[in-house]
């Protein structure tokens, strides 16, 4: 009796430690893979070569070298800055991103924690990084950073709503908020929800791009206007945190979209007993497909203006999402 208890106890801590280690490895790894993909893909799109020398071949070690470089750099905190807030901001941004990994199902049973309110948790926790961004903008004692932070806050309010509303359709169809449950519902239905929820998927992706502050919605950073906005004053590993958070966030947002709309770790035609092993790879494939689209947009589009973004959110996406919910709900009842 005692032995089993201790083994459970041990198991809990061991598994927690294992999970923490896994996330701690995954975030930088994903950051590097996606960062490298972005470098190489953008180079391909722009008739360039991209990283070439680092590591001997294709410049594969470029981002490792970059990471080491960031740690070597001086950690500059502006004299006028609000130091505690300034220091806390990048950590908060990264934590908000890392916490999202908890609810992503990589395969049947392969999930850090299958919360009953999984998707609700994901949407709530993803807003945390925007608080970090606002803190960074406010504490930097830089007018450009401040404008960037405020733009980020405005963007969050405008895009959190369509993001949530876009998800509701899926939740209605699946009848559960658990991420694992949504995937299982899609397996049971036999088709990924994007087929019926294409409007929701489109809105979700647009809103996710805005959440990620990537072009065409990168007004909070806006290099040519705000000189990198809220990250202007950051250097060294604090900057690296923002950098990692951006790519890790890209991964998690893509993973959530893949789970909700594209069937997650499931692919039609793949037998269920294989999913245990193939699941993570199927999910990764879908994630990279979506991430590729994001990178593609980034290097194709210019940036919107802040007021154009707001009107897009409030005048188009929110009404569209509401209509989508209404239609989904009616169909659910009728059929």
């Amino acid at each position: 009796m005692i032995e089993t208890l201790t083994s459970v106890f041990e198991n809990f801590w061991v598994s927690l430690a294992g999970k923490l280690l896994l996330v701690a490895l995954m975030v930088p790894l994903i950051g590097m893979v996606l960062g490298f993909a972005e470098m190489k893909l953008s180079a391909k799109m722009q008739a360039r070569v991209g990283p070439y020398f680092a590591g001997g071949r294709w410049g594969w070690a470029q981002l490792i070298a970059d990471g080491i470089k960031f740690f070597q750099k001086e950690d500059i905190i502006p004299e006028e800055a609000d130091a505690p807030v300034f220091k806390a901001a990048p950590i908060l941004v990264l934590v908000g991103t890392v916490a999202l990994f908890v609810v992503i199902p990589f395969g049947p049973g392969l999930i850090f924690n299958d919360l009953d309110v999984g998707i609700f948790y994901a949407l709530a926790i993803s807003s945390l990084s925007t608080v970090g961004v606002l803190m960074a903008g406010w504490s930097s004692a830089n007018k450009y950073s401040l404008i960037g932070g405020l733009r980020a806050a405005g963007q969050l309010i405008a895009y959190e709503l369509p993001l949530v509303l876009a998800v509701v359709g899926t939740v209605i169809m699946a009848g559960t908020m658990s991420m694992q449950g949504i995937v299982e519902a899609q397996i049971a239905a036999g088709y990924p929800y994007v087929i019926l929820q294409f409007v929701g998927f489109g809105i979700f992706m647009i809103a996710a791009l805005a959440e990620l502050t990537r072009i065409p919605f990168d007004m909070p950073i806006a290099e040519s206007e705000l000189v990198m906005g809220y990250v202007t004053e950051y250097s060294g590993f604090r900057f690296l945190f923002f950098f990692l958070a951006e790519f890790a966030n890209m991964f998690t947002m893509s993973a959530i979209a893949a789970t909700l709309f594209l069937g997650g770790y499931w692919l039609p035609g793949v037998p269920e007993d294989v999913l245990e092993f193939a699941g993570p790879f199927i999910l990764l494939g879908k994630v990279f497909l979506l991430a590729f689209a994001m990178i593609w947009f980034r290097w194709t589009f210019p940036r919107f203006r802040e007021d154009q973004l707001q009107s897009l959110a409030w005048k188009w996406l929110v009404p569209l999402a509401l209509v989508n919910i209404a239609v989904t709900a009616i169909l659910k009842v009728v059929l």
């Binding site: 799109m45 000189v227 210019p302 802040e306």
Partner: protein, 397 residues
């Protein structure tokens, strides 16, 4: 408890007025900023995202060329004025050289004039391609930059082949163009002419430029976000533009069909068939469009000039070894890529000018900024500033 109604009313009023008044922020854009093309500084009062009382501060790059010209000899001055608008260095030389030739009453050989014309148009193409590269970048699209710069390299290579310099050719001589113009080893026996194959290479390059213009048009003009960011933004009415001395593509974008290549005779433009491109609304979009079309027109002019190139011969009129320009004064202006570039040359018959007034295009073009940026959103400041296409060397001289 007795409530003092008067005091309450007073309090509520006070609160209303407190809520209405928000503090404005003074925003310094530049002198070090990615979108100010160098060291322009704007001091703006911003209320939220809206800017008021925008004051450009210039002079960070003032090099005093007008004073320096007074202590230089005429052949030395071309090396200075190359650096005024460095994006189209070659085009700066021409009006000055023509002014000096006018005072000396020299007849420049036709072939030399054609070479000047081709190189000037190449400078225009390279300058406009820089605009094609940088303007989408300022709006956030990075990719057109590489396509435009790739073509510009093609043009600059040719320019370098003839003149030996990519940015600062210093190629014109009073009375013609540089002897031994790019003719390989500079022995006395080599013919003074263009490098072998230059004309054919240029014709091919112009075909490529025309192709890439279509590519850029697809990439940029087909983009809804670019249109949303530029159409109806920064409208410049023609009468305001004229009063401020805004010239060149910026003026033509406002619908004024005025091109100094058509009305002045500093180079033999009357031999060629080209049209003056004008915009309709005078907004940022039209300024972009006019420049794209001007690249096409320039490419056509160059191809025509190659077809009509006079046969090989001397490239230099007879001038004395020590050049002294007879006393007199004249103003020669030219249609440079950025607009009207002119030199008021006052000579006293000496080795150098007594006074050289340099009228540069960008200086007048950006003097419109306080007018055009009043009450504009901060992102639009960047969009408008970029669309005026200025170079700080051309502003500060």
């Amino acid at each position: 408890m007795v409530i003092d109604q008067d005091a309450m009313r007073h309090l509520s009023e006070a609160q209303v007025s407190v809520e209405l008044a928000t503090e404005d922020m003074t925003l310094n854009i530049g002198p070090q900023h990615p979108s100010t093309h160098g060291v322009l500084r704007l001091v703006a009062r911003v209320d939220g995202e809206r800017a008021y009382d925008v004051k450009p501060v210039i002079g960070y790059m003032h090099r005093g060329y007008e004073k320096l010209s007074e202590v230089r000899t005429y052949p030395q001055i071309t090396a200075l004025i190359n650096r005024i608008d460095w994006v189209s260095g070659y085009a700066n030389e021409v009006p000055f050289i023509v002014a000096a030739e006018k005072l000396m009453e020299l007849e420049v050989p036709q072939r030399a004039q054609y070479i000047r014309l081709i190189l000037t148009e190449m400078a225009r193409i390279s300058s406009h391609l820089v605009f094609m590269a940088s303007y989408p970048l300022e709006l956030g699209a990075a990719t057109p930059l590489f396509f435009a710069l790739r073509e510009r390299e093609r043009v600059l290579d040719l320019l370098e082949g003839v003149t030996g310099g990519r940015f600062h050719p210093n190629f014109n001589r009073i009375g013609g163009v540089k002897p031994n113009a790019g003719a390989g080893p500079t022995t006395r026996k080599t013919p003074q002419d263009l490098p072998a194959g230059f004309l054919n290479d240029t014709r091919d390059a112009m075909d490529k430029v025309l192709e890439v213009c279509d590519e850029i048009e697809d990439l940029v003009a087909g983009n809804e976000i670019i249109l949303a960011r530029t159409k109806g933004i920064g409208i410049l009415p023609p009468e305001v533009a004229a009063a401020y001395g805004v010239s060149g593509p910026n003026l033509r974008a406002s619908g004024v069909a005025f091109d100094l290549r058509k009305v002045e005779n500093y180079l033999p433009y009357e031999d060629f068939d080209f049209s003056v491109v004008t915009g309709e609304n005078g907004d940022c979009w039209d300024r972009w469009w006019v420049r794209l079309e001007e690249i096409r027109e320039s490419a056509k002019i160059i191809q025509q000039a190659i077809d009509g190139m006079p046969p090989s011969g001397t490239l230099q009129a007879k001038v004395p070894k020590i050049i002294k320009v007879p006393a007199g004064e004249t103003y020669v202006r030219a249609e440079n890529p950025k607009g009207e570039m002119g030199y008021y040359l006052v000579s006293d018959g000496g080795l150098g000018p007594y006074r050289l007034k340099i009228r540069s295009a960008s200086f007048s073009n950006i003097s419109i900024l306080p007018w055009i940026l009043e009450g504009i959103l901060v992102p639009d400041i960047i969009a408008i500033m970029g669309s005026l296409d200025f170079v700080l060397g051309d502003v500060d001289r």
